[in-house]
């Protein structure tokens, strides 16, 4: 649901950047976020298709870098990639773990512009 607000903020950011850096059109927007950050790529794409016409980002391609969930396991003494939403070590099933990645918020990383 908040994907609409995210897209509106993204389009405003593109507008500001176009003034700062002097470009007319955006061809590619590269975005990154954590897999557990509750950002849904399909909703994001849908909101973008609805909101972008008439802006500098109209017709731009969205590329998503989705960062994996990660846990530090105190039994294995190492970081493990999460394979599900379960908060336990995917290797030893231990619950002595802390979350170390996956909730990074939505960032605009890079653009390809004309």
């Amino acid at each position: 649901m908040h994907e609409l607000s995210l897209v509106q903020s993204l389009l405003e950011m593109v507008d500001e950047l176009s003034l700062e850096r002097g470009f007319q059109r955006v061809n590619v927007l590269r975005l990154s976020f954590g897999r557990l950050a509750c950002v849904d790529p399909l909703s994001l794409q849908f909101a973008f298709d609805v909101e972008s016409p008439g802006t500098r980002a109209e017709g731009s391609k969205l590329v998503f870098d989705i960062l994996p969930g990660a846990l530090y396991c105190f039994s294995c003494e190492g970081e493990q990639k999460m394979t599900s939403h379960e908060l336990r070590c995917p290797v030893c099933s231990g619950t002595q773990v802390i979350l170390t990645g996956g909730t990074e918020e939505l960032k605009l990383m890079e653009m390809e512009v004309d």
Binding site: S5, S9, L17, E105, L108
Partner: protein
Amino acid sequence: MSTKVTVVKNVLDANDRLAADNRKLFAEKKIFVVNLMSSPGAGKTTLLERTIQELRGTWKIGVIEGDIQDTYDADRIAALDIPVVQINTGGACHIDSNMVREALPGLNIDNMDLLFVENVGNLVCPAEFDIGEQMKIMILSTPEGADKPAKYPLMFQSSTALIINKTDLLPYVNFDLEKAKRDALILNPKLLIFEVSCKTGAGLEVWTRWLNEQIRVFSGR
């Protein structure tokens, strides 16, 4: 020929900047702001009613109510004779820092120590939007199930305290209290957890005493 431009900026940068302005204003006015979040019906308004009764003798309190439509929650607060402003989120599933800023003229912030913002009932979106609060507090109620921390990690991660409400229903609902607490602490090892029932009043004193202490430290009084 297309050129590459490196940006690396939070998409909610504009919201975050406005939230920083709000936070500065609240610091100047010495207002302790609590952003209260939960799923629909977990007990935000009920907890506010009970907390206000306990703290109103000590602090001047105001409330901002975020609701998608009606003014039912705002009416419940107004019935306590507490200043309240209803934010119309216009269908949005969260409150953002601009909505808070626009609600402030409806409150007498020169004469206020504690401001509660009841966010829209939703476990996902509100956690993303900083509004300039001093702390985020979330409620999880026992009928919702103990799998919520693992499914909605962001809110647990960004909250200072978790209130597990409706403990009076523990004998009737299938809620694994230990698992909920363990998972919540995996997401956020610093999270404080309070177990309360807004119905029976169990655990509320520990919660209000803790909150009172936080405000005291913040305001230097």
